[in-house]
């Protein structure tokens, strides 16, 4: 028979008392609560006295574990002239520490059979390791080591700057969609830090110094600015004991007050023309949208699923299948701490123009602003979202990413399930309200992309004949 909740709570209390009796001052562990994660799993919240948050989700299906570290620093914390620093720093975190030579971090993890990666975005930086469960102590040691004891030297900084510059060329300079998105955001935002790209402007990347990186590290890489998320085949007691020992001695940082500049309301439409070496015209449209935590984010996401989600969605049917003027049309609803953009992207087919795409998209958006969508469409959108959520939870990494993302942006690690429940309560009126609130032409920015004529290439429309 499974133990009752009160029995489990008592056992946990005793465990923590024993653990804390031997812990360093900064490493005493407090239990902050239990959060259900779906129908079966639970997340246990802990915190060290130095501010490090720890979320543990035991799942014994396979003998593996995921160990993710989420730092609450992203490109929004940068300043003009130093854009891209959070992302460059993410690269540098794989380098030398006081205990490890350059390259040893990755080598030790690979030797242990781990899969490791990282990512930076507007609000956060995220390091993820998936590892066979018996090697978890290694990850705890290495992650604590690089949180506090990274060594930054000129040769590594120089080399990583070049890698990042190449990444920028790959994702932006030579990539049409990447370049268009960058122009869209920098045109739609004039004040808020979301206006510059996470990868940074090239001159800023090239201009970083080792001192810039050191200052950034000292400020933001501290236990009180991080959350550990551990999922998989773990033993909670052993895990917490090791985390307390490894991270307990680390000191908190005095985090600066963020220099927040809320974006003033956009009151008239903006349009940018862009020429690119591309085969067809394209359009990107950015409507100012809600923050992830805003009440209407779920309704707007459901509306966008009705409009753009899959082949049966209104926009795909109209633009790709009926009018045959686009090869692709899609949307992303910014999942950010502050209001972001609802970003629409469409690629024209054959000789069709960006204007034709815009007019067809506008016609469908006008429809949802003037009349409610059907209950049947909302139900379909919810079913798609449910499938998407479940499919993302198959691996320990998927669980840790979902938990860590929602904890970092909203402070609610199981918010993915909350959103699904909220979506079940949505009615046509909610989506109508969201449409009227956000799909206003006066608050949108358009980027119209035209193919650059080049003597080297044939006109794709001629080649198609």
């Amino acid at each position: 028979m499974a133990a009752s909740a009160s029995t489990l709570a008592l056992r946990r209390e005793r465990m923590l008392a024993q653990l804390n009796a031997k812990a360093p001052p900064g490493g005493r562990v407090r239990h902050r609560g239990t959060v259900p994660f779906g129908a079966v799993l639970q997340i246990q919240r802990y915190e060290l006295t130095n501010g490090l948050r720890i979320l543990v989700c035991e799942d014994h299906v396979a003998p593996v574990a995921a160990y993710h570290t989420w730092y609450r620093v992203g490109s929004r914390h940068e300043r003009v002239g130093k854009t891209g620093l959070a992302h460059l720093f993410e690269h540098l975190m794989f380098n030398e520490t006081e205990q490890l030579k350059a390259g040893d971090f990755d080598r030790k993890l690979e030797e242990a059979g781990a899969e490791s990666n990282a990512g930076t975005w507007l609000d956060w930086t995220h390091y993820n390791v998936a590892i066979p469960k018996d090697r978890l102590p290694l990850v705890i040691r290495l992650e604590a080591e690089r949180m506090a004891h990274l060594v930054l030297r000129d040769p590594q900084v120089k080399s990583e700057k070049e890698v990042v510059a190449n990444e920028r060329r790959y994702r932006v300079d030579d990539d049409v969609e990447g370049a268009v998105s960058e122009v869209l955001w920098s045109s739609a935002f004039r004040e808020h830090a979301y206006r510059w790209p996470t990868i940074g402007w090239m001159p800023d990347i090239e201009g970083f110094t080792t001192e810039d990186c050191q200052e950034f590290y000292r400020t933001y890489y501290a236990p009180n600015n991080a959350t550990l998320v551990v999922t998989g085949d773990v033993d909670e007691r052993a895990l917490l004991t090791r985390i307390a020992a490894a991270y307990g001695p680390l000191e908190s940082s005095l985090l600066p007050v963020e220099d927040v500049r809320p974006e003033p309301p956009q009151v008239e439409e903006r349009q940018v023309e862009l020429e690119k070496p591309t085969v067809s015209e394209k359009i990107a449209i950015g409507y100012h949208g809600p923050a992830l935590g805003d009440a209407d984010h779920t309704a707007l996401s459901a509306l966008c699923e009705v409009l753009f989600g899959g082949r049966a969605s209104r926009l795909h049917r109209r633009l790709v299948q009926e009018l045959e003027i686009a090869t692709d049309v899609r949307v992303s609803v910014g999942p950010f701490q502050d209001p972001g953009l609802v970003e629409i992207y469409a690629s024209a087919r054959d000789e069709h123009t960006a204007e034709a795409l815009r007019d067809a998209i506008d016609a469908e958006l006008d429809r949802v602003v003037s009349e409610p969508v059907s209950v049947e469409e909302i139900d379909r959108a919810r079913a798609r979202s449910e499938l998407g959520l479940l499919a993302g939870l198959e691996t320990v990494d998927g669980k840790a990413s979902t938990i860590g993302f929602y904890e970092t942006v909203l402070g609610r690690p199981a918010a993915a399930f909350d959103r699904l429940e909220a979506a079940a309560l949505l009615g046509p009126g909610d989506l109508l309200r969201a449409a009227r609130r956000y799909f206003r032409r006066s608050s949108r920015t358009l980027v119209m992309v035209r193919p650059q004529k080049s003597p080297a290439s044939t006109d794709p429309r001629e080649a198609a004949e």
Binding site: E111, G113, R311, T327, R380, S457
Partner: protein, 426 residues
Amino acid sequence: MSEVLVETSRELPLVNLTVAERTGAIEDPPGKEGLSRLVARLMRRTAAGLTPFEIDVRIDQLGAALGSEVTHSVASFQGTTITRSLDAFVDLLADVLARPALSEPELQKLVRESVGEIIESRDNDRALARRWFSRRMFQGHPYGRSLAGTIPTLRSITRDDVVLHHRRTCVAGNLVVAFAGDIDRERAEAVAARLTSGLAPGTPGTDRTPEPAAPDGRRLVVVDKPERTQTQILIGGTGTHPRDADHVALAVANTIFGGTFTARLTREVRSKRGWSYGAYSSLPYDRRRQAFSLWTFPKAADAAPCIRLELELLGTLCKHGVTKRELDFAKRYLVRSHAFAIDTAQKRCALLLEANLYDLPEGYHEQWLERVQSVTLEQANQAVRARISPENLLVTVVGTEAEIGSAVRDAIDGLAGTEVIAFDAD
């Protein structure tokens, strides 16, 4: 009777389902490249005479997803459904397989859509590199033919072609049905029987594809695209197949050379010089040997020195081999990371499918760890010398010819031939 593979997991209320034909794009008649892919997509859109919209709505309502994928050797439908919708999803998929209308108007619409996709794909430099590398690496061989087809071949495909292809390949004897997730064997076999009950019995396809020939000398293909600040570079030769006695030894050697983030290639190209965001070597296989290849993407100014370096690294690998220290490290990595090849039902099922569809030797995946552990230094180095030939390679570069062409040619010693192709040539 179709073969049924099952991996059960009750962790999530999801069932992943794959119906795979043991025939793929190599069955496309000459001049009709893209036929297999077109047929699979058209089946998906015209099941039981429903409109594509009706089918898409039904799938969405069920909380399911259904797509198709065509490779050279296999054409498959891959679906995922929430468990509660399994029966309804199976009914729909059975219609897709056995009762597609394959209507002329939908065929023509799909051809137009596919043509648009081919044109649009010219924006993707990595896809361009891969496409032209395959075409020239396997010139004259079925693996060099385009999976998506070309604009002229797509436009030449008729409804008769489609119907004939469907009748010939979508038969019960040519199918493998695989399940992963919230389903047990008993139910899976019942579902598989329902899926295939409307199909003709048929027999499994026979793959008469020959082994591909190795490149003759060092050859260069430049895919010329304007305004490239960065290049996409693929360098390779013929690879291996699990039937080869030295396959596992070569796989271990490939791990050392370019299979991980700390491998020689990434260390030299990215870590030391910062020349490319990514640098990897890969050793895929089909039912026959595929191509061993290196992939990097340096900025334009670094393309030539990067190519020279990669060729030097290959030369060093073949001349001096790998070290014992490297071998032991790679073996530890491969053995321990294998936990992530089998940590979900879907991944385990994918291994079963691969073994079945690609004619792998019996017990290939089950014995993988044991065989990796037993690879010796001599075996690894012998495999490298036998299978990798630095003097017989294809180098494919997507970049701006006027800016980099001359330097790239100078970087390849003993270059036997060069071809410059406009990026939108097809």
